[in-house]
């Protein structure tokens, strides 16, 4: 279909109809959408000369990425009704590529969670089973793509928040190398880990979306001076070596996940790749390391929500400024956010910094060093399960934060090392999707996308969607 032949107003209408149906079905994946805004987006694209694969494509945006046209709440009461005066660089780039900003999607409050149960605006349902969670924290975006409401969506990753829900929902979740996509306008959570990442029903869709938003940005000092990520393809995997890190295939791995991965490994071999077992010995420290680095950064990043300049304000009983802080933050943040702020404040405090934060940074370097060593040693990519289990039931892990944290056990090490990684659908277990994760060396995002595209075509159980 040529760009000029697109009925953009029709796309806006159909998208609106699908969003309405998803809301009626109780998916609770959307925090804000508006038909008038969608129509305006369609008119804007009609006027623009933007060509390329994203022209006229509706996109859902995780609600921790600021947009000037609608509220950005981060799934938190403290930002209820907050409207940003500017849009994120990624939003500007999507628009420039001709995409329609369709909806703001639900998430764990400030992206803190692995199930999208920690939203102040209610939990997101898994599209295939409303009793289950879609994963998180980008659960809204993942569910909208899986349910066929939008073909692509933006999420954000800090420790696996796109790959994990992609795996649970049976869609593709693509995280770039740290620094390839601007964080300007992504509400900061764990700044040294945060990456805007993409969802699609295919590797190509997620890849083209990432391509459109990637590239250096003078407004983000942590972006790297490299061109936008190009979407490449290859015929097979001949000559490539895929590493299987032993630590990511524990004996007690969920049998359905283990089976799906066995099939994926066979498919990879059939495509001509050599497969080799490798070891990433420090990955077992990834979750505890992550839960020191991330809360420390989060505690500082969330200090600005103080009720002074914007967002919710509560005047405390004493009427002074300290009381305002206590009342505003005490009532505005949910329990998981408060927990991380407390942990983060603790690990940075005088006398504990060396024991926790400094130590965590050292371990982080060791974790990244493991990957470097393996990649220097002739391995081109790594293949692992994305998650230890398929989607779990709502409420199953909310009372035990550590169990919830372990849902990210296969994704956090990659985040700490800043590497590009992708989760692709690798089959089903009792009807629930299972994801396989591919991990590439730093800034080999192009190769990651190309390999994932080949593997996707070869394995069963691709993105089945319920319509």
């Amino acid at each position: 279909m040529t760009a000029s032949a697109l009925d953009l107003q029709g796309v806006a209408r159909d998208t609106g109809a699908r969003l309405t149906r998803a809301e009626r079905d109780g998916l609770n994946a959307v925090l804000h959408w508006d038909q008038a805004l969608l129509d305006a987006e369609a008119s804007r694209v009609e006027q623009s000369r933007a060509g390329g694969p994203l022209r006229g494509v509706p996109v859902a945006i995780k609600d921790n990425i600021v947009t000037a046209e609608q509220p950005t709440t981060c799934g938190s009461k403290i930002l209820e009704g907050y409207c940003s005066p500017y849009s994120a660089t990624a939003i500007d780039r999507l628009r420039a590529a001709g995409a329609l900003i369709a909806a703001k999607s639900n998430l764990d409050e400030f992206a803190m969670g692995s199930s999208t149960e920690h939203s102040a605006y209610g939990r997101v349902r898994h599209p295939l089973d409303p009793e289950r969670v879609p994963g998180g924290s980008s659960g809204g975006s993942a569910a909208l793509v899986a349910a066929g409401v939008v073909p692509i969506a933006l999420g954000s990753e800090t420790g696996g928040s796109v790959r994990q829900p992609a795996s649970f929902c049976g869609v593709v979740g693509l995280k770039p190398s740290y620094g390839r996509v601007s964080r300007f306008g992504l509400v900061a959570f764990g700044s040294s880990l945060d990456c805007i990442s993409t969802f699609g029903r295919t590797v190509r869709d997620a890849g083209e979306t990432l391509s459109a938003i990637s590239g250096p940005d003078p407004r983000d000092a942590t972006t790297v001076d490299r061109p936008p990520i190009a979407v490449e393809s290859m015929a097979d995997l001949a000559g490539l070596t895929i590493g299987l890190p032993a630590e990511y295939f524990p004996a007690d791995l969920h049998p359905g996940v283990a089976a799906a991965l066995r099939e994926t490994i066979e498919a990879v071999k059939a495509l001509g790749a050599r497969v080799r077992e490798v070891s990433l010995p420090h990955s077992k420290y990834a979750v505890p390391t992550y839960y020191i680095v991330n809360p420390a950064e989060a505690a500082a990043n969330l200090a600005r929500y103080d009720g002074v300049r914007y967002g919710q304000r509560r005047i405390g009983p004493e009427g002074d400024i300290r009381a305002l802080y206590r009342a505003t933050r005490g009532s505005g943040f949910g329990p998981e956010v408060r927990r991380r702020i407390l942990v983060g404040t603790y690990v940075l405090s005088a006398g504990y910094y060396e024991a926790y934060y400094r130590k965590a940074q050292q371990v982080r370097a060791l974790i990244a060093g493991d990957f470097e060593r393996v990649f220097c040693d002739g391995v081109d990519l790594l293949l692992t399960p994305t998650t230890p289990t398929p989607a779990f039931r709502a409420g199953e892990k909310t009372d035990d934060p550590v169990t919830m944290y372990l849902a990210d056990i296969f994704t956090t090490a990659v985040s700490l090392a800043g590497l590009p990684a992708i989760s692709i659908p690798a089959g089903r277990s009792d009807g629930l999707p299972v994801g396989a994760q591919l991990i590439a060396p730093l800034h080999r995002d192009e190769r990651l996308i190309a390999v994932a595209g080949v593997v996707e075509g070869a394995i069963a159980g691709g993105a089945e969607v319920r319509r």
Binding site: P85, F184, L348
Partner: protein, 473 residues
């Protein structure tokens, strides 16, 4: 028994940039509240800091002017605390890896002669906003124009031994920073602020006493007053058998008292950690050496050169180098042909008076030189020249000579005119003429004065005396 005071200073200077430390808003002083703000300095969700290269350059210059070692890698860190003037809930500063360390400032101590103060470190940081307690009744208003303004914090070693010495060091430091072109150092506009660490001990005691911190004193005179007050407070405590506790104090310029605001137990734990939004600041050695080469002549070097090249007194040289502009003006006047000592007298006198009032020069160096030459040639008396100087600033198109003529100040040495004034004076003072002729020769001065008065200063005094002597014979 006497006490010795030990003082170290933390000085915050605003770097002279057009825009803020981490965003593109202007740093203009005195604009309407909250007009120079953007998502970055307001701390809005999603906004990110990007370092201002000019602020970094000025910080490097300041460090080099203070003899510091500039580090190839320094790290921005977050200093966490809650306050309504701090939009992000943390200040971006530098902590364990500052921009520069290990410098020194030489200064003239009022009590010990030539002194030297070690500079522990210089680091870059952003300023906070300002709370306004008098704009809205019963409310506190916040102006965030200043939030994000680039600052260099300059921390000295505890090398100062009196309040007066602290003041002298500050004046020297200010001069250096102004000469280096890194800051205006205006205390009125808050572009130079001082926190002082103070302790006292018995002379000869190698151990330091417990120190207190006096915060945010707003003038050099008040730094001295505040430190004296704190030194006396500590003495009174120790002499009464009590102990000094580690506190932070504020100086009240109205009462001259220092008042504790928080104790050590209440002090903040700032939970510093490297700012993940900002990669380490890496400065290429070539950049640093370029900045070193581009550093202008600093006050000490200029003083030495003025003494050597123009045979000025140490006093004149140091007054002339109190401001780079004054020293430059002086050298231009000399270059225009005025004898250096005469030029120095003019600059330190009339020129500096108007400079201090207006901050600028109303008379170009070449015109001042022309005026001074009229005095040397006997066309104007020194007094008349001062009147012409005052007029020159308002008469930009006129030469000094034209102004002198318009004001009727050109000296008269023509004998006919002098004889007329002399005869009038002698006629109106017959008694004094009698006494002079009787031998009271010291009355000559009186007659000269009277002639000058009658001529309204125009008579050339060198010509008056021979005429008088002749008529009194």
């Amino acid at each position: 028994m006497s006490w010795e005071t030990v003082i170290g200073l933390e000085v915050h200077v605003q770097l002279r940039t057009r825009t803020k430390m981490f965003c593109a808003d202007r740093t203009t002083f005195g604009d309407p509240p909250n007009t120079n703000v953007c998502p970055v300095c307001l701390g809005l969700p999603g906004a990110l800091p990007v370092p201002n290269a000019e602020a970094v350059r000025l910080g490097v210059r300041a460090a080099l002017a203070l003899g510091c070692t500039v580090h190839e890698t320094s790290v921005f860190a977050r200093k966490n605390y809650f306050y309504p003037d701090l939009p992000k809930g943390y200040q971006i500063s530098q902590y364990d890896r500052p921009l520069a360390t290990g410098g020194a400032v030489e200064f003239e101590s009022p009590t010990r002669g030539r002194g030297r103060v070690g500079i522990t470190r210089l680091h870059l940081e952003e300023d906070a906003g300002k709370l306004l307690h008098d704009r809205v009744p019963d409310r506190t208003a916040i102006d965030l124009n200043r939030a994000g303004t680039p600052l260099a914090e300059i921390v000295s070693e505890p090398d100062l031994r009196s309040a007066a010495e602290a003041r002298a060091y500050l004046q020297t430091l200010r001069q250096i920073l102004i000469f280096a072109g890194v800051s205006d150092c205006s205390m009125e506009q808050g572009s130079l602020r001082v926190d002082a660490n103070v302790s006292i001990r018995r002379p000869g005691d190698p151990r330091l006493g417990t120190k207190t911190e006096v915060k945010n004193v707003n003038s050099f005179a008040n730094v001295e007053r505040a430190l004296e007050a704190e030194q006396l407070r500590q003495q009174a405590l120790l002499e009464s058998g009590a102990r000094v506790t580690q506190v932070t104090l504020l100086f009240n310029a109205g009462t001259g008292q220092v008042k504790p605001i928080r104790s050590k137990e209440e002090s903040h734990d700032y939970r510093y950690f490297p700012d993940p939004d900002l990669p380490p600041l890496v400065l290429h050695p070539t950049f640093v050496s370029e900045q070193r080469a581009a550093l202008p002549e600093l006050p000490e070097a200029r003083r030495t050169r003025l003494i050597g090249a123009f045979a000025l007194s140490a006093y004149d040289a140091s007054v002339l180098t109190s401001e780079p502009a004054l020293a430059g003006y002086f050298e231009s006047v000399v270059a225009a042909g005025v004898e250096p000592k005469t030029a120095a007298n003019w600059v330190i006198g009339d020129v500096m008076t108007s400079f201090n009032q207006t901050g600028g020069f109303s008379v170009e160096p070449s015109r001042l030189a022309a005026l001074v030459n009229l005095v040397r040639e006997g066309v104007l008396s020194h007094r008349a020249a001062k009147r012409v100087y005052a007029e020159l600033g308002r008469a930009a198109d006129e030469t000094p000579r034209a102004v002198a003529e318009r004001l009727g100040l050109v000296q008269v040495s023509e004998e006919g005119a002098l004889v007329g004034w002399v005869d009038e004076v002698l006629r109106s003072h017959p008694n004094e003429v009698g006494r002079y002729r009787a031998g009271e020769s010291k009355l000559m001065g009186f007659f000269v004065g009277q002639v000058m008065k009658r001529s309204k200063g125009k008579a050339d005094p060198k010509g008056v005396q021979p005429v008088l002597a002749d008529r009194l014979r």
